[in-house]
């Protein structure tokens, strides 16, 4: 398979990426409205229901929108981190399941430990498992030259079915009624961030991670090397004397670990147990989240909350306006396509101007 092309979206200044993001959202809203009209729906009613569902009350905003944004921010960071290095990790979904599985398993095995030990152990397990899940595609790319796009997608399916097997088989709850695991003990759960809401400490963790990644990419030696490899592996190797293989290895496994943590945070912050269909495709939505943010970690926080609002609003849209929630997938696709198209137009105009 071919070498990964260097960049998903051209690098740009902050102002440019803000303008591009806003224009992409406007374009998405326009095309989405036309599609809804064609389907015989009222776009204004859809938008109103969506905004009400996502931002209508303090509870809706904190307990639904922000809670749903946590896995999107984390997987979005995972994707952005990999894409910046030129690693096409489409496998965040499988890595997330691996992380969730490991978190629950460790949490149940070590259930008697005190919170100060158990919670970090649970989250670390998810980090490690996510990284391990990325190891197979990483080695196949670096050792065998097999492109990671297909292998990461294949690992997604393996991860999803492994989780399904575990909750039907070895890890099924002791009651044996539902296909889910036993709940994590109290000590393995993330505490509430805002009293009286469902918002948990995972949100704070995702903000911290975004900040750390932003600083590391911008100011650290490793961040510089990673960006150089992402821009052009040949130039980085020849002119920069950078060990490209090592950077790709770290970026790939790091991305997998972050996606795995998304799974760990979800089970220890929200569901407390693992079950089938834990993720409604966060690993794929993450691509839209990361792209709309211009692969910028701080931007991922904003776009993650935006997509969290979209998913929170979709439920209200289905309930109040009778519009199927599956439309969220269409909106995500439109966002990605709008960003790609506008970026191409921007580059062409730029080329003609110079």
């Amino acid at each position: 398979m071919a070498e990964a092309p260097a960049q998903a979206v051209g690098r740009m200044r902050l102002v440019e990426s803000l303008v591009l993001g806003a224009a992409a959202l406007a374009l998405t809203a326009g095309v989405g409205a036309v599609l809804l009209l064609l389907g015989g729906y009222d776009p204004m009613a859809a938008a109103a229901a969506m905004v009400r569902g996502a931002f209508g009350s303090w509870t809706a905003f904190t307990s639904i929108t922000l809670v749903r944004s946590v896995p999107l921010i984390l997987t979005g960071l995972a994707v952005a981190f990999a894409f910046r290095a030129g690693v096409w990790n489409i496998g965040a979904e499988g890595q997330l399941y691996a992380g969730a599985l490991a978190a629950v398993w460790v949490g149940l095995q070590a259930a008697t430990l005190p919170p100060l030990l158990l919670l970090p152990l649970v989250l670390s397990a998810s980090l490690v498992a996510g990284g391990l899940w990325a190891l197979v595609p990483t080695l196949m790319r670096l050792r065998l030259g097999v492109g990671e796009v297909i292998t990461t997608i294949l690992m997604n399916f393996v991860g999803i079915y492994l989780a399904a097997y575990m909750v039907h088989g070895p890890l099924q709850e002791r009651r044996g009624v539902f296909p889910q695991t036993d709940a994590l003990p109290e000590a393995g759960r993330l505490p509430a961030l805002l009293p009286g809401t469902a918002l948990h400490w995972g949100f704070a963790l995702s903000l911290l991670l975004a900040g750390a990644l932003a600083v590391a990419l911008r100011y650290s030696r490793f961040g510089f090397q990673l960006r150089a490899v992402g821009a052009s592996p040949e130039a980085a190797s020849v002119a920069g004397r950078i060990d490209v293989g090592r950077i790709l290895f770290v970026a790939f496994l790091g991305s997998g670990a972050i996606a795995g943590m998304a799974g760990g945070v979800q089970v220890s912050g929200v569901t407390f147990a693992l079950y089938e269909d834990l993720s409604p495709g966060w690993g794929y939505t993450a691509i839209a989240v990361a792209l709309l943010a211009g692969l910028n970690p701080a931007g991922v926080v904003v776009t993650g909350v935006l997509f969290g609002a979209l998913q929170a609003g979709a439920g209200a849209m289905q309930r109040d306006a009778g519009i199927p929630a599956s439309w969220v997938g269409v909106v995500e696709a439109l966002v990605i396509l709008a960003v790609l198209c506008l970026d191409r137009v921007r580059r062409r105009v730029g080329k003609e101007a110079s």
């Binding site: 398979m1 071919a2 065998l144 030259g145 796009v149 079915y161 691509i287 599956s326 790609l340 191409r344």
Partner: protein, 308 residues
């Protein structure tokens, strides 16, 4: 395993392998000219819904396949405009088309048949028995008593091989996939070739989707494509971008998928999730093993802009 069970297993292998073969043959053509279409999954699910709606509207499964083919083509058109026309990144464009295809078909299905998803009962593609060939012991009925879409796959594999390796158009197409700049200098219209090849791939993926809805089950379900678009792309790699090998690889994967039903039918107590994961694990193993560094078209997945 007695002979009757073996025959059933082989029949199921071919039935499950055909949609992979159709989608992978189309993808072989587009990858040969440098376009990797991860949106294939979107084309397949669109073809499944298009096939279902068409079969309902015309009360005819064959016309349903036609509608499914058009639906698959429309999905590929979106991909082609953005990735080939505008030159955006192919992987990301394809991911978007897959997300959009799955979302859109889900939305249309629910709008048409209600949120609960009424169980659809569609006219199905009847088996076409080839006299003589179907009498061959063991493999006869498996290969030659199948829906018409199976014969399409059998005929396309040699036809596309001949097209790619024995005609001037095939040569031009491969040249575009190896070195678009050189091809353009030689007078080949690169963007047009890539556009047409991508649409052809979408058309076949649409037929593959229609086959899923109309030949397997006679029903449509959300997400029923179940990752076949991605497996088809892996099948292309396994078949080393050669239509004849691609057909063989697709049938092999059909057999891997049929294996789980088969074990269940025999009453083995194995967790079915493990067997659902089997085709994906086999693909990984095959990619790591015999494909190794099999050479992809040099310009695969690289956006290209005319230098003129």
């Amino acid at each position: 395993m007695n002979q009757a069970e073996l025959v059933l297993f082989l029949e199921a292998s071919v039935r499950l392998g055909v949609p992979l073969a159709l989608a992978a043959l189309g993808e072989t053509i587009s990858e040969r000219c440098g376009v990797i279409n991860i949106g294939l999954e979107g084309s397949i699910i669109a073809g499944a819904l298009g096939g279902a709606l068409g079969a309902l509207a015309f009360e005819n499964a064959v016309l349903g396949v036609g509608v499914g083919a058009v639906a698959g083509l429309l999905c590929a058109l979106v991909f082609a405009v953005v990735a080939v026309g505008l030159g955006a990144d192919q992987i990301i464009t394809g991911t978007a088309v897959t997300l959009g295809g799955l979302g859109m078909t889900g939305a249309i299905y629910r709008a048409r048949f209600g949120a609960t998803g009424t169980e659809l009962s569609l006219p199905t593609l009847a088996g076409v028995r080839i006299p003589g060939l179907a009498e061959i012991p063991l493999v006869g009925t498996a290969l030659f008593d199948q829906a018409a879409t199976a014969y399409l796959a059998y005929l396309l594999a040699p036809a596309l091989w001949f097209f790619l390796f024995r005609t001037p158009y095939g040569l031009e197409l491969r040249a575009v996939g190896e070195s678009p700049d050189a091809a353009e200098a030689a007078g080949v219209r690169v963007v047009r070739v890539r556009f047409l090849a991508t649409l052809f791939g979408g058309l076949l993926a649409g037929v593959a989707g229609a086959h899923l809805a109309l030949a397997h089950t006679g029903t449509f379900a959300e997400n029923m494509s179940a990752g076949r678009g991605f497996i088809a792309i892996a099948v292309v790699v396994l078949g080393r971008w050669n239509p004849a090998l691609v057909l063989a690889a697709a049938l092999f994967f059909g057999a891997a998928s049929a294996f789980q039903f088969f074990l269940q039918a025999l009453g083995f107590e194995v967790a079915y999730q493990i067997f659902l994961a089997l085709p994906y694990l086999l693909t990984l193993a095959a990619l790591a093993g015999w494909v190794g560094r099999a050479r992809a078209p040099a310009a695969l997945a690289l956006p290209w802009e005319s230098k003129r």
